[in-house]
């Protein structure tokens, strides 16, 4: 492995911080999408659940791509992780909606 140069390291550090900020923001946003204990006893609307699923998928992909550095990984790993994400979250959403 060649010695990493400063420019790339600074870029990586910025990416990591940006990913963390986006992840935290998405967590807080998802919290406001989901009703608290006091609200009506019915289940969530389908649109809200879809939004929660999309947020969850985006968060997982951010962790994989930015924290776990899959974005620089060989193609098979990018496909494998994306495939897991797509299959898992679509299965969860479909089962919830049925």
């Amino acid at each position: 492995m060649s010695a990493p140069d400063d420019r790339l390291l600074r870029k990586d550090r910025r990416t990591v911080f940006a990913a963390w900020a986006a992840l935290t923001a998405a967590t807080v946003l998802a919290r406001f999408l989901s009703p608290g204990e006091s609200q009506s006893a019915t289940a969530l609307g389908d649109e809200l659940v879809a939004a929660i699923v999309v947020l969850g998928l985006v968060k997982c992909r951010l962790v994989l791509r930015c924290f776990m550095e899959v974005r620089h990984a060989p193609r098979w790993l990018r496909f494998a992780t994306d495939g897991w994400l797509a299959v898992l979250w679509s299965a969860l959403l479909v089962i919830y909606l049925i």
Binding site: M68, E69, A80
Partner: protein
């Protein structure tokens, strides 16, 4: 693992394709993601079979505790990712401090989880409720992984303390495991707390 044909390069490429950590750790991570995926789908199927009971039970979970736990774990992952960058820079003292911060966040997560478990059990939400049986098993298996993660962070810390070793690859593998613990929690949080 690198691209073939590296004999003549007109200009340095933006970034080489390389596998973070090593292939063995990715066997672990992909396999674990698959196994947990099976658990998550099983949970969702059982939830679909008695959706009203599950929704009623889920209402007793405190979302805010879940949010705090998520942010704590995300922050620990931030520290872990920064630690890897520090190791690559050769700043191993800084990396050790960052790994310590990662572990501290992990311990904090465990304490919050223990508080939450205690609160749920003292409110009478035990495994006799179907949702709570899933809740305790999923969070419990996740906690086992978190404990393994703390162990793995210790391995990385030991690697950094020894000035003759300091192999970046070992630290990368250990941190990858920690990120996986974080990734699984992100799914569990959405599944148990949000999708009600």
């Amino acid at each position: 693992m690198t691209a073939p044909g590296t004999t003549a390069r007109p200009r340095p490429p933006a970034r080489e394709r390389r596998l973070p950590g090593d292939a063995d750790m990715w066997v672990m991570i992909l396999g674990d993601l698959f196994i947990f995926g099976c658990y998550f789908v099983t949970y969702m199927v059982f939830r679909a079979m008695s959706a009203d009971e599950f929704t009623a039970s889920q209402r007793h979970l405190d979302i805010d505790v879940g949010v705090v736990n998520t942010v704590v774990l995300l922050t620990s992952s931030l520290f872990a990712a920064l630690a890897v960058l520090a190791v690559r820079e050769g700043a191993s003292r800084q990396a050790q401090r960052l790994l310590l911060a990662t572990g501290a966040c992990g311990v904090l997560f465990t304490l919050i989880k223990a508080y939450e478990w205690h609160a749920e059990i003292s409110h009478g939400h035990t495994i006799h409720d179907e949702f709570y049986s899933f809740y305790f098993v999923l969070t419990g298996v996740h906690l086992v992984h978190l404990a393994l993660g703390l162990l793995v962070l210790g391995v990385a810390g030991r690697e950094l303390r020894n000035p003759r070793r300091r192999r970046p690859a070992i630290v990368e593998q250990c941190v990858l495991f920690w990120h996986m613990v974080d990734l699984l929690w992100v799914v569990i949080f959405a599944l148990l707390y949000l999708m009600r």
